[in-house]
């Protein structure tokens, strides 16, 4: 299944914040987690994650730190802040509303799908 690129872009911020909400992490591991969660359906261009992370840092949703774990190479770790958690909660509310609305209209009779079919 191909997911529309606008949808991928829109979901990127809540996804990254949610993943960082689980634990602090570095870029490559965040991407792996995205693939895992979406069972490979969400196709991200790897590089694009970094400008996004830097934006979140500017907005003070995440903090970063360069660290070298005992085994392995130096990496930049990102951790969610309180402001980030608040933003995540807000995103959650918005996404819930959207999915609920879609859900309702798709299950209801003569819903969106039929409407689209008539066009």
């Amino acid at each position: 299944m191909h997911i529309d690129k606008d949808l991928v872009a829109a979901s990127a911020t809540p996804l990254v914040l949610a993943i960082l909400g689980e634990s602090e992490n570095y870029g490559y591991a965040i991407l792996k987690r995205v693939r895992e969660l979406s069972e490979g359906e969400l196709e991200w261009t790897d590089g694009m994650l970094y400008p996004l992370l830097h934006r979140l840092q500017r907005l003070e949703y995440v903090t970063t730190e360069w660290r070298t774990p005992p085994e392995g190479r130096r990496r930049r770790y990102y951790a969610i802040t309180d402001a980030g958690r608040a933003a995540l909660a807000e995103q959650q509310r918005q996404w819930m509303t959207v999915t609920r609305a879609l859900d309702d209209v798709w299950r209801g009779n003569g819903g969106l799908m039929t409407a689209l079919g008539e066009v």
Partner: protein
């Protein structure tokens, strides 16, 4: 594996070329690439294949660097040449257009001068309107460069027309103080009007506002440089022509100076846009050099005033001088802000700057105290009202800056907040200048 190492090095060098991607980012991206390669290795791919897949997954580097540029427009300011949709690489960088607009401004001011018969006659309308013959051309130049649509052209032109009406419909008697104030503030109002076309017909974006603040600072540097060069040129020309006729040099200056000064406004604007890197190196040097010197000067002055008391030495018309000091300090703050990498932690330079700001504030508060205490028995004149208003506007800005710098130096907030404070404050300066132009004269009965 050596082969892959050299391939990674090549890739890295290529990524590092992008203006908005700095060294730490390249490290981060390289780390990502290596993680990916290592994982693909264990999945059984050969080193070569693993490298290719990893690079492919990383994505198209042009798109990537554009994405970085969008996030770090401050870095991009260092060189605005991005290949790609935003700024197509074209042979013309606006130089010809700039020249046309510069010529137009030069002609416009010359015509105005001839009509006014300046300098034999010195009518007040010329003084009030001088920048109205110049800055609209800069606004038009940016509107063209940014390719704004018709509606935005209108929105950019409307305030200029409004200023022209206000400036010319008010009845000023001869030698009016408010007229002089208006003449001083019209350029400021018009400058903020230029912000609209400069920012491509947007006003809300804080990033674009910061770009405009940078533009203002660097335009100023260029303008001063051009003025110095032009001054030397005019001086030499006058000296050469003097033996022919004693009056000739004067005539040359009369004709060349207004047009030159007007044209240079647009040329400087064009230079800021196209030769970014030159000034980029200059602003940090200037700030590094002058911030400590100003800090020392202001600290000594504040200490002396505090010890000797302000009342005796303070001449009440001197408030303008303290406005100038605050403007300079604000200028230093803005220059250093535009020259610094926002993610960098605070250091000695920031502390020195904070010292300068705080000293200026202390100095100013003492002066203001005296001033306000005396206003009761002296009353307001237009000059005093304008100086006092500007002083308060600047004081609030710098107090906010000092407070946020302190919090930033303590690691409480990100540097970004400081930028936000300044960019949010920009409209207040514009508003104040507009008040002086439009409200102050009728308030004081145009005296």
């Amino acid at each position: 594996m050596d082969d892959v190492e050299s391939q990674i090095a090549e890739w890295r060098a290529y990524v590092a070329k992008a203006p908005a991607v700095d060294g730490r980012d390249v490290d981060e991206l390289e780390g990502h690439l290596r993680d990916q390669i290592a994982e693909l290795d264990t999945a059984g791919l050969t080193a070569d294949e693993a490298f290719l897949v990893a690079v492919k997954r990383m994505g198209d580097l042009d798109t990537l660097s554009r994405e970085f540029a969008r996030e770090h427009s401050g870095r991009l300011w260092k060189q605005l040449v991005l290949s790609g949709e935003d700024e197509p690489a074209r042979p013309s960088n606006g130089g010809f257009e700039a020249l046309v607009f510069a010529l137009a401004a030069g002609v416009a001011i010359q015509v105005a001068r001839l009509i006014a018969e300046y300098p034999d006659e010195q009518p007040g309308w010329l003084l009030r309107n001088a920048t109205l013959f110049v800055l609209p051309f800069l606004a038009a130049y940016f509107a063209r460069r940014r390719k704004v649509d018709i509606r935005r052209w209108g929105l950019a032109a409307a305030p200029i027309v409004l200023v022209a009406l206000v400036v010319n419909l008010y009845p000023y008697p001869a030698d009016s103080a408010t007229e002089l104030l208006v003449a001083l503030h019209v350029p400021v109002v018009l400058w903020f009007v230029i912000a609209y076309p400069y920012m491509g017909g947007t006003l809300g974006s804080h990033e674009r506002r910061m770009d405009f603040v940078r533009f203002t600072g660097e335009w100023f540097i260029y303008y001063v440089l051009i003025a110095l060069g032009g001054g030397v040129l005019l001086l030499l020309t006058s000296l050469i022509l003097e033996p022919i006729s004693a009056e000739l040099p004067e005539r040359v200056v009369e004709w060349v100076l207004p047009s030159g000064a007007a044209g240079a406004v647009i040329v400087a604007g064009w230079l800021v846009e196209s030769k970014q890197r030159v000034v980029e190196n200059m602003a940090p040097v200037l700030t590094k050099l002058f911030t400590p010197l100003f800090a020392v000067m202001l600290t000594i002055a504040a200490a002396t005033y505090a010890l000797s008391g302000v009342t005796g030495a303070f001449d009440r018309e001197r408030l303008g001088l303290f406005d100038a000091i605050l403007v300079v300090v604000l200028g230093l703050v803005l220059y250093s802000m535009s020259a610094r990498e926002p993610s960098q932690p605070g250091g000695l330079a920031d502390q020195i700057q904070l010292l300068a700001v705080v000293s200026a504030l202390v100095l100013d508060v003492m002066v203001l105290g005296v001033m306000l205490a005396r206003v009761g028995d002296l009353g307001f004149t237009p000059n005093r009202a304008a100086a006092l208003g500007l002083n308060i506007v600047l004081l609030v800005n710098l107090a906010g800056t000092a407070w946020l710098s302190l919090r930033f130096l303590r690691g409480r907030i990100a540097f970004h907040r400081l930028e936000r404070w300044q960019t949010s404050y920009v409209p207040i300066f514009a508003l104040w200048a507009a008040i002086v132009v439009a409200v102050l004269p009728p308030l004081f009965g145009f005296i």
